[in-house]
Amino acid sequence: MAFEIHLDNFTGPLDLLLHLIKTNEMDIYDIQMVEITEQYLTVVEQMKQLDLEIAGEFLLMAATLIHIKSRMLLPVSDEPVEEEDEDPRAELVRRLLEYQRYKQAAEALEALPQLERDVFVSRFVPTEIADSADETVSLGVFQLAEAYYRILSEVPAEVFHEVIREPLSVAQYVQLVVRQLADGQRHSFRRLVAAWPSRAELVVTFLAMLELVKMRLVEIDQVADYGDIWLKLRVAQGELAAVDLAEDGFGYG
């Protein structure tokens, strides 16, 4: 029996099995295991030959089918085995029936009138309520969790457990940052800290930056959310000399 089947037309092994059962006009309650297993394996084999990546689930189902088939071929034992002589296919049939139900439910869903496909709503927004509320984001636990982990992925780890001890002095790093910014150009925070790779240094640099902002010596801005932070000296180089950048001024001592 020649047939052409592509695995990607099926959402999973159950889908493929149902298809085979249907095309063979088999009774789902009385699946001919030998035939079905053979056909199923042929499809999987074809895919292998085409060098397609076969999802593990399809292979797992192949193994299950072979197992059931072999159990069916065993002679029925004479020993009175408790109540355990359930049809080896029972579990598979249950799963197929259950799956078929939801496959049909999926078709029923698809047939419902769908917003933006079959049905539309008015887009008119009265000026009275068109206040410039910020752009809204969809809201759910998933969005919340994803937002959090995305942020974490951009922040150096363990920042909150870091205890900063000397010899890294904030004042010293204030001086370093000022020196870097002395040309009056905008500098990226990322670039600034890249010079000092350790986490402790990064934290101190960050504190130094905050100090400078607090003292209004440096202005910072960020063009886009998640974008780089830009630092720029607010005062002329000459005026810096007048400012006390000594250690005790910062109260970290």
């Binding site: 029923a108 009138p113 709503v121 969809s138």
Partner: protein
């Protein structure tokens, strides 16, 4: 009274999502018994099949929507293709819609195939939502469908879902809804 009805119409028309009866009463500053008959009138006046749009009851609220008859024509309005669901996405949505709350492992047991990617997409589109953790070892996340799911398919509530065909009655044992026992929650 006519004015109250006009106001109700205006509120429903202007709201960006289906407006619930409770919220409508609040907005109109009237009691439920005062508002209820109005809504009955409006539902009749704007019932489906009369005009180009009708007053729909969706996702626990009221919303004016174009009549589904006009759908094929209206598609000409938008340049973008409407959301097309893959078979996998529809299956996953259907399973979760009918059996929620569901864990990922349970969905995968029913579908027989890994469903993480599909579920993530549906979560991002806000059609699924996480509704807690199941009280079993490992405390896996439980998923359900969202309000947007109801809005998308124009359902008043989950009870509006098309009735599932019963599994064939040949074998009463099999016909019973099979309790799920996913092998493990990985």
């Amino acid at each position: 009274m006519a004015d109250l009805k006009r106001l109700a119409e205006a509120f429903i028309f202007a709201a960006e999502a289906p407006l619930s009866f409770e919220r409508l009463c609040l907005l109109l500053e009237r009691s439920r018994p005062e508002v209820r008959p109005l809504m009955q009138e409006l539902l009749t006046e704007y019932s489906a099949g009369q005009r180009g749009f009708y007053l729909a009851e969706v996702a626990g609220g009221y919303q004016f929507r174009t009549d589904p008859d006009c759908g094929i024509w209206l598609r000409k309005l938008s340049k973008e293709r409407p959301l097309r669901f893959s078979q996998a996405a529809l299956e996953t949505l259907a399973i979760i819609a009918y059996r929620q709350p569901m864990t990922r492992a349970e969905v995968e047991y029913l579908r027989g195939v890994d469903s993480g990617g599909v579920m993530k997409t549906l979560l991002e589109k806000n059609l699924l939502k996480i509704i807690g953790k199941k009280d079993v070892p490992g405390r896996p996340l439980m998923y359900g469908t969202s309000r947007q799911f109801l809005e998308l398919f124009g359902l008043r509530s989950l009870e509006d879902l098309p009735t599932l065909k019963e599994v064939s009655a040949l074998d009463p044992e099999l016909a019973e809804a099979v309790p799920l026992e996913p092998e493990s929650d990985n």
